[in-house]
């Protein structure tokens, strides 16, 4: 099978082209650095199937970043049959810099002028025939987004792949032309493949090349000693780069005909950026947008209309029965949209999903099981162990999808890249560059790809600090915990709004990450903050296809997880709560004698300073079980609550009385826990914070281990997660319960800060003495 590699600058549309050619749904984001490793797919419309390799975006073939090394090694070592160089036609000169380097490799090549639709829209013209003639490489105009010109591109690439191509360089006529020619001949004599490419890189003093061709380096150094440029001195890398740009400006830029503009005018993106990336308003706007997203997803009072206009509830309108049930089917639907306030879109979808679909389905299934002739233990296992756990997790699918729809819109529109730019100034003060923000943002989806994305960070210490704080950015799996506990706090204690609590918990995660980074970068992970240069992509309307692909992927894996790992966990938890150490079957009322209760009660005192330990009495251990089950997968916390809540409802009927809770909804399950244990609001907030900041799921832990590679650093990371979650949760619980403890915490923080300053000064003095 032939292999074609897609190479180009970051954010030039490689992955969009890859998806169009292969029918894949690889993650496409409107910010540079989405792809960190190569991906493969198959194109079937050529005379024979062609494997397409999507390489990460790069600006050059110099080995400065891991992406550049991956792309360079692939093209040089794996020898694809053709390289399709995707060039952003709206930014031709800068993109051709990489083209001039790819041209030096002995590999068939085709240039795809992407985003031609945007060029034509702006009134500019590119003479591709002339450009082709000057480059000596076939050029095809395409629009990957609109899938235009793709067939022609692939046909040309296929035709090119049949013939051999020798590398050419634009540096021939530069001051270094002779030297490059001599080095090329020398390398050819040594049977080195791609001698021209290696010769140029040797002249540039490329670290990999100088290591590989030690004997040739001496010859180059002899020449370099006799050479001095007026502007760049002995900086040969700068000299080569300058020669390339000069050649591009002189020979290729004239193929672009810019529409005559009377005066300099700002594009729409520039105008929007004047506001969105403002040095003062940038961060408040970001927080406002974030809050709007949470409001649209979680608020039960859309735009606070209910509170402002004092709208009547369904009960006031006489639409509920004496038992509080809707009087007819129509009112049931109305209750999904309105009850004293219009619900936000996220809540409406959630209500319809839970009340009309999931609730109905599992209620019906539960009824079937109840009516069967099975033993009570089997009915309990199916209804409480299996159905309750799965239904509770599935009940959170709508808010997760709505939230991720908004996040995808932000990403696709290009705003995410702006957030990195806005936060760079702030992050830099804490020892991280804005680039570190990109993996953190990915952490809102899942910590695993986010940790892998930290490979884009060149500094090892910065990378370690970023990997450690990524779990603080609440992932999709943690959302059910947040939503269920926040919803239960509002429903049971009538405190605050669910949207505000969820928003504040997300902010808490971000603040905890910043404080942790500050501490790490000023103590154990000290180091220089690398400069952050990022190209801001133009804003564009999100693509419906992309958004749906993101959501479909999320749905598929959430449902798959519910029916595999969550199902298995709930079965295990049900068994462990219904058998004693003597292997005797226990009724729901006896779960306090179960294996799970026995083990949990042993470690329960450890959680007392966090508010969900020994102070919760006989059923308090359920919070410990939920937190530990969350280590397998965070959705397990709510599945565990639902399974145990079903048992506690039976207990409550005996001991508490008057409890009317349907535990198949996560929020109700948490309310059952509150009733049974008497847990307080600060303890519940502390519980959320603990789950958000403690050791993430096993998959994320495994990834952190693989990414950090150093055993000592990985162990340090585990200790960091445990201690950070413990301290944060303890602070929340104690300050929430006894406000005056805030002074004790403030004193402790001040002491730690003083200790760090003193330690750093001491270290500086020692270093000076040594000098």
């Amino acid at each position: 099978m032939k292999r074609f590699a897609l190479a180009g600058n970051p954010n030039c549309g490689k992955t969009t082209l890859f998806n169009s050619l292969t029918g894949s749904t690889a993650h496409v984001g409107n910010w540079p650095g989405v792809t960190v490793d190569k991906k493969t797919g198959t194109y079937k419309k050529c005379p024979e199937p062609v494997q397409i390799i999507d390489l990460p975006g790069i600006y050059s073939l110099s080995p400065y970043t891991p992406e550049e090394v991956i792309a360079r090694n692939y093209v040089l070592d794996e020898k694809p049959d053709c390289v399709i160089n995707i060039v952003d036609a709206t930014n031709l000169e800068r993109n051709l810099y990489l083209t001039t380097q790819l041209m030096e490799i002995d590999v068939p090549m085709v240039i795809a002028l992407n985003m031609m639709d945007a060029v034509e829209k702006s009134g500019d013209k590119i003479d591709e025939k002339e450009l082709e003639k000057r480059l000596g490489v076939p050029v095809v105009k395409i629009s990957a987004l609109k899938e235009k010109g793709l067939k022609e591109l692939m046909d040309k690439a296929y035709a090119e792949s049949k013939s051999e191509r020798k590398g050419i360089t634009v540096l021939e006529e530069s001051a270094l032309g002779h030297l490059i020619g001599d080095v090329k001949i020398a390398l050819k004599g040594q049977n080195v493949q791609n001698p021209l490419f290696h010769a140029v890189k040797l002249v540039e003093s490329d670290s990999i090349e100088t290591e590989m061709h030690k004997e040739t380096v001496q010859m180059i150094n002899e020449f370099k000693e006799t050479f001095e440029d007026e502007v760049f001195g002995n900086d040969f890398e700068a000299l080569v780069a300058d020669a390339r740009y000069k050649y591009i400006s002189k020979n290729f830029a004239p193929t672009v005909q810019k529409k005559k503009k009377e005066k300099f005018s700002m594009t729409r993106s520039d105008k929007a950026d004047k506001v969105m990336t403002h040095k003062i308003w940038g961060i408040p706007i970001f927080l406002l947008i974030l809050f709007a997203i949470f409001h649209l997803t979680f608020s039960e009072d859309f735009l606070y209309l209910g509170a402002i206009f004092k709208l009547p509830s369904l009960e006031d309108l006489g639409l509920l029965t004496a038992e509080g049930e809707p009087i007819n089917y129509g009112v049931r639907w109305l209750a999904c949209i309105y009850d004293g306030a219009v619900f936000s879109p996220g809540v409406i979808i959630n209500n319809i999903w839970n009340d009309m679909l999931v609730g109905e389905l599992f209620g019906w299934l539960g009824g079937l099981v109840e009516g069967s002739s099975m033993s009570p233990w089997a009915i309990g296992l199916i209804n409480n162990g299996i159905f309750e756990g799965i239904a509770a997790v599935l009940s959170f699918l709508p808010p997760i999808l709505v939230l991720f729809l908004f996040f995808s819109i932000l990403e696709d529109s290009g705003y995410m890249a702006r957030i990195a730019f806005i936060l760079d100034r702030m992050f830099r003060r804490f020892g991280l560059s804005g680039r570190a923000f990109m993996p953190m943002i990915m952490g809102f989806g899942c910590s695993v790809p986010a940790m892998i994305n930290t490979r884009t960070l060149a500094d090892e210490k910065e990378r370690t600090a970023t990997v450690r704080v990524i779990p603080f950015f609440s992932c999709g799996a943690k959302l059910p915990i947040l939503t269920a506990v926040a919803g239960a706090i509002v429903a049971y204690f009538h405190v605050g709004n669910a949207d505000a609590i969820t928003f504040l918990m997300y902010l808490l995660g971000i603040v905890a990450a910043i404080v942790s980074v500050l501490l790490m970068r000023s103590t154990t992970l000290k180091g220089e903050t690398p400069p952050f240069i990022m190209e801001l992509p133009a804003y564009h309307a999100p693509q419906f296809k992309n958004l749906m692909a993101h959501l479909w992927d999320k749905t598929k894996h959430f449902v798959k997880k519910a029916f595999t790992i969550i199902l298995a966990s709930t079965i295990v938890i049900w068994f462990l709560t219904h058998f004693s150490f003597a292997w005797k079957f226990l009724e729901d009322e006896e779960i306090n004698q179960s294996i799970l209760a026995g083990i949990s009660q042993l470690v329960q005192p450890l959680f007392t300073p966090l508010g969900f330990g020994s102070q919760l009495g006989q059923y308090g251990w359920v919070f410990v079980v939920a937190a530990v089950a969350g280590l397998i997968a965070k959705e397990n916390v709510i599945a565990t609550f639902a399974t145990l809540a079903a048992c506690l409802v039976a207990v409550a009927n005996l001991n508490i009385g008057g409890l009317d809770i349907a535990a198949e909804e996560g929020i109700d399950a948490v309310q059952a826990m509150i009733l049974a244990t008497g847990i307080t609001v600060p303890a519940l907030i502390s519980f959320i914070a603990f789950n958000m900041t403690t050791i993430p799921c096993f998959a994320a832990v495994g990834t952190a281990k693989a990414e950090l590679q150093d055993k000592k650093r990985f162990n340090g990371t585990l200790i960091f997660w445990i201690s950070a979650s413990y301290v944060i949760s303890a602070a929340i619980y104690t300050i929430g319960s006894w406000w005056w403890t805030a002074f004790i915490w403030a004193a402790l923080i001040a002491a730690v800060v003083c200790l760090i300053i003193w330690h750093n000064k001491n270290a500086q003095k020692k270093a000076l003495k040594k000098v």
Binding site: A26, V36, K39, G445, P449, A549, T564, A706
Partner: protein, 57 residues
């Protein structure tokens, strides 16, 4: 014990054993265990690569 109850126990054991076995096999093959889905992941092949690197070491 009724046949349905025996089948229920078999089903539960199969689910638990199946999930654990699937995770172990996936880990041995170097596949990621994140359940985030490789199709939409920017670093899906990187997961494999990390495993290969470890094996090479």
């Amino acid at each position: 014990m009724k046949i349905w109850e025996i089948l229920l126990i078999v089903f539960c054991v199969a689910v638990v054993a199946g999930v654990i076995a699937a995770k172990v096999i996936a880990k041995k093959k170097g596949k990621p265990s994140c359940d985030c889905g490789c199709g939409g992941c920017s670093g899906c092949s990187a997961c494999q690569k990390a495993k290969e690197d470890q094996n090479r070491k």
